[in-house]
Amino acid sequence: MQSFPCPYCGPRDETEFLYQTDAGRTRPARGVSDADWSRYRFFRRNAKGAAAELWLHAAGCGRYIVIERDTLTHAVIASKGATP
């Protein structure tokens, strides 16, 4: 089980967190095409290696956080709050 550094709570077990999606996605406006809406809804980077991911600290502070980590080695590089 991985240990994630929550910027608000400190290091916590992975089971307290829920994976959400890639970090940095922006919700498109209503006028977007079906294809682009689908890309927003369903397409993920699924990176092998360095990745920036959005996680929810569900069993902790309840905040959304961005974790930069390596999906291959499971090394955690950085974490920060998703909202300022």
Partner: protein, 969 residues
């Protein structure tokens, strides 16, 4: 008796046993005696028993090979204790279980006893049952024709369905340094860690601290090894280190999380626990496991690892034989030869090496050594009676102590994704490239000498901390003559009728490996699965490397080229009870309970679980209970405990904006004191939940979502709050548990509310439908809302949760009749009120359930907006919510399909989502989702449920009071 070796004796003194505390136990019906401090294995040996088990496949007699967790053979059915403290273990390892008073032990594979096994005849057919024979044999007409009988013979012990394991707690620790193993390397590492100011946890799988120091000679800092170990533990504990014995590190997971199974060894499993230890650094000092030798009939009872024989002698005061042949190719076993001779046994050494080192000679003293000779075969019909050496010499013996070199216990290193490396000069897999956060020390790293182990441990435990002492400050051993531990693995040329066992627990012989290689299963992972080598509960601790050596020699490759199979957790078997922990029975998935549960019980409520909440299904026991509750709601007045109904407060200057975004129905236009029904959508446009929103103040709302969806709705609100809003300007706060809610419904509801709160302000001008007023109840706050979930005039009253019972009683006193969830569901169905997740699913959009208006009119952004306009969302013939008036008196099952015949083929055009016999209407009604349902009103449709046919007419999804006049009755 055949199981008795005359040579095995208990020494009169020494060892870790307490001769003042004898212990009685039974094995295969025989009453036997041991002492406190014995393991089951040492007690069996001391009683002269050599055959203690039968093998898995051939039912050959088997004895005790090892001393600890590596034991492949001595696995027994264990019963101890009585009543709630009784413990049954269908496959206990005799070498790690301490002997307890009254233990009843039985051989597991034997049909009968270990000594007399009716299935022993199987061994004569061994030629016909090689590896994987059943894949080739039991295929006609079908494997299933044989399965039951074969399964009855397979398995490892039999579970007693009446036996209950105790609850094993899970414990957690966070430390700077976790040391696995308490031999010289582990103790030195823990000392160095503590000296460096770090928090230290030391775990030892044995019941006693010290590892090899408990059985091998050695002097550390001027004291005997065992004494030094005891002293060191005291120092560690005084210094604040956590020291746990009988604690096995079973697995290492990401980021240095180590699972540790600690055995309490008490009857009933008391004292067991499962630790999860998160360690900044780990020192793996788990030592090494000795390998057996490969020769014909090397599985006979009486063959024992030399290190195990030494441990039984020095630690349990059991001399496992009287006439002993020690077979080796290195120096380590010479200590046993010397010790056995000193204990009065006749000892002969067969050493594969041509010349014996001085170190070995010094350890063994004056024993006969057959240099340059190996064992060709073990002699004796069912137990060891002697050996035949490769030179042809035959020697009588009752114990054959074998030493085929050592395999470092690098399992945890491999769990950490470390890649083992074959060290040819050592004849062992050792850790390869280091992995971060883990250091391997001592014998586990292939460094067998005591001085090396201490130095390794000190260096590893020191870590990189600044306050750490230099390695020279660690404990020092008197340098003895360097011993040779490396032993090349000799794979014998077996004659046609010889059987050389590689894996004792799974009965894999060298010929099985040859067969696998012939059939092209030459990759180690294939070999393992084809032959089952190393797949038993010992996980091949004594067999894997020998098996690789055999495969290498057959395929003409080196062991390094052959490679090693993956080490997977757990390192040693773990009872399910330890993994499950306290999550048993009611604690597995705890139900949520109502604050007034006891009051409902007093009212004869029958409880059921609804969405994880234990709620009254109905009251009383009559066959008409549900229907009469329904009638009471329609004609008189009922009270329903709606306490779990969501009460999620959304507060702040941006609260209205957040709700506008999350709700499909606009909420910012709601006036304070008023309520509005609305839908929430997922970003996929699918109906996520429905509920009523109350606006308490311009900046304060209460979202009443479905009872079982509260956490999900809070999550949805939080997700959009944190994604799109200034989190300082809007908060989401779940107050569901703070309030108890009783819903008073029916034509008499106003009179009941008036009886509790007084008449004033209850008239329909001051409190119209979908309005709320605040009131006082027993000097506390109360909210009275006019909302209806059954289609009658009704009032939802919320008071602080502690007043739930008082409010319930007040309503009952005023004449309201209890209403359970089942009746409520029928009343709602009569009105066509949907239940999200029952009448909707992952495809249902608002325009499928008659709520397309906001989709048509709203232009501002809201969750799921764009998804309502995709090609899929706009396609014709979507399934739409309808009511079905079923012909006849039978209830149509939920899930029944509406079928039509098109082009000669039957096709489903939809299905029933809810159904009931309506007590109000006296007819069978249902809700369904049917293609183009809204345009089909009036059509007749046929439903098929597993061959049962129903006919119904499609109607609007509201069977009762379409105009809504009852709300004001």
């Amino acid at each position: 008796m055949s199981g008795t070796g005359r040579g095995a004796i208990r020494l009169d003194e020494g060892g870790e046993i307490d001769r003042g505390r004898p212990i009685s136990f039974r094995f295969d019906g025989m009453p036997l005696q041991g002492y406190a401090g014995d393991t089951i294995a040492s007690a069996l040996l001391a009683n002269g028993l050599r055959t203690v088990a039968r093998s898995f496949k051939y039912h050959r007699p088997r004895g005790i090979l090892g001393y600890g967790v590596e034991e492949p053979s001595a696995i027994l059915d264990l019963r101890v204790g009585e009543g709630p403290a009784a413990r049954h273990d269908p496959n206990a390892r005799a070498t790690i279980e301490p002997l307890l008073e009254g233990m009843v032990l039985k051989a597991v594979h034997a049909a009968g006893t270990a000594a007399r096994d009716r299935l022993a005849v199987l061994d004569r057919f061994h030629r016909f049952i090689p590896s994987a024979f059943y894949y080739k044999t039991f295929i006609w007409p079908s494997w299933h024709a044989y399965e039951a009988r074969i399964r009855a013979m397979a398995g490892l012990g039999r579970i007693d369905p009446d036996a209950r394991a105790g609850v094993v707690p899970h414990r957690f620790a966070n430390v700077d340094l976790l040391v696995v193993g308490s031999g010289p390397a582990g103790l030195a590492a823990a000392l160095a860690g503590l000296a460096g100011g770090r928090t230290v946890m030391l775990i030892e799988q044995d019941a006693r601290i010290g590892g090899s120091l408990r059985m091998r000679a050695g002097v550390i800092d001027g004291r005997p090894g065992a004494a030094w170990a005891e002293e060191t533990v005291r120092k560690l504990v005084d210094g604040g280190a956590a020291v746990r014995t009988s604690a096995t590190a079973i697995a290492l997971y990401d980021h240095n999380l180590v699972a540790v199974h600690e055995r309490g060894h008490a009857p009933g499993g008391a004292g067991d626990c499962l630790w999860r230890v998160r360690a900044r650094e780990i020192v793996l000092a788990a030592g090494a496991i000795e390998r057996p030798l490969l020769f014909a009939d090397n599985d006979r009872p009486g063959v024992m690892l030399a290190s195990a024989a030494l441990a039984y002698l020095r630690r349990k005061a059991v001399r496992a034989g009287g006439k002993i042949v020690v077979a080796t190719a290195s120096d380590a076993a010479y200590e046993l030869a010397g010790a056995m001779a000193a204990a009065g046994a006749e000892v002969v050494v067969a050493d594969a090496r041509k010349t014996v080192t001085d170190g070995a000679r010094a350890l063994a003293g004056d024993v006969t050594v057959h240099a340059g000779e190996r064992i060709r075969r073990a002699l004796g019909r069912s137990e060891v009676a002697g050996v035949e050496l490769t030179g042809g010499t035959r020697i009588d013996a009752d114990l054959l102590a074998v030493s085929g070199g050592f395999s470092p216990a690098i399992h945890l290193y491999a769990h950490a994704k470390g890649r083992p490396r074959w060290d040819g000069s050592l004849g062992a897999f050792v850790p390869g490239e280091p992995v971060p956060g883990l250091r391997v020390a001592g014998a586990a790293a292939g460094r067998f000498a005591l001085a090396d182990a201490l130095e390794d441990g000190t260096r590893a435990g020191r870590g990189s901390g600044e306050a750490a002492p230099a390695p020279s400050a660690g404990p020092r051993a008197v340098a003895a003559a360097a011993l040779q531990h490396a032993a090349p693995i000799a794979v014998p040329e077996a004659a046609a009728r010889d059987r050389v066992f590689v894996d004792l627990q799974n009965d894999v012989i060298t010929k099985d490996i040859a067969l696998a290689a012939r059939e092209s299963f030459k990759a180690v992972e294939h070999l393992k699965r084809y032959t089952t080598l190393g797949m038993a509960t010992d996980q091949g601790k004594t067999s894997n490397v020998n098996g690789l050596a055999v495969l290498a020699s057959i395929t003409g490759r080196s062991i390094a080229e052959t490679g090693v199979t993956t080490f997977r957790p757990p390192y040693a078997p773990v009872p399910f009870a330890a993994i499950i922990g306290p999550a048993l029975g009611e604690l597995d998935a705890p139900v949520r309970r109502l604050p007034a549960e006891n009051e409902h019980r007093a009212e004869q409520a029958v409880f059921d679980e609804y969405g994880g909440i234990l709620r009254p299904a109905w009251y009383g026991s009559g066959p008409d209970a549900i229907a009469s509750e329904c009638r009471a709601a329609r004609t008189a007045v009922t009270v329903f405990d709606a306490s779990p109904l969501g009460k999620v407060e959304v507060v702040g200057p941006d609260a209205a904006a957040l709700l506008d975004f999350v709700f499909y129905t606009r909420m910012s236009t709601l006036k304070p004191g008023r309520l509005r029904y609305g839908l929430m959508l997922s970003e996929g446009g699918v109906v996520f939940d429905d509920g009523v929103v109350l606006r308490l103040a311009p900046d304060r709302f209460v979202v009443s979502c479905s009872s079982s969806h509260v956490p999900a709705v809070v999550g949805l609100l939080e997700e959009w709050r944190q994604d799109r809003f200034d989190i300082a300007r809007v908060f989401v706060h779940d107050t569901t548990g703070h309030w108890a809610t009783m819903a008073i419904a029916g034509p008499g509801s106003r009179a009941v509310v008036a009886a509790i709160f007084g008449e004033s302000g209850l008239d329909d001008v001051n409190l119209p439908h979908m309005a709320m007023r605040e009131a006082r109840f027993e000097d506390g706050p109360a909210r009275i809302s006019r909302v209806s979930f059954v289609g009658e005039r009704s009032y939802e009253i919320s008071v602080p949760a502690g007043r739930a019972v008082a409010l319930w009683r007040a309503a009952r006193k005023a004449g309201a009749v209890p209403l359970g969830v089942e009746a409520l569901s029928i009343l709602r169905l009569e009105k066509g009120f949907i239940m999200v997740g029952v009448d909707t699913d992952g495809e249902t959009m608002p325009h499928d359930i008659g709520m397309g208006r906001a989709r048509d009119t709203r232009t501002d952004a809201y969750a799921g907006d764009r998804s309502l306009f995709t090609a899929e969302a706009r396609k014709p013939h979507r399934k739409q919510l309808v009511g079905i008036a079923i012909e006849g008196a039978a209830r149509v099952p939920v899930g029944a399909h509406a079928v039509v015949r098109e082009d000669g083929r039957r096709r489903s055009i939809g299905f029933v989502t809810s159904s009931a016999i309506s007590p109000t209407l006296g007819s069978s009604i249902a809700l369904a989702r049917i293609e183009d349902g809204e345009r089909r009103h009036g059509e007749s449709v046929t439903f098929d449920h597993l061959g049962r046919i129903f006919t119904g007419r499609i109607v609007a999804p509201c069977f009762y009071d379409q105009k809504g006049e009852r709300l004001h009755a």
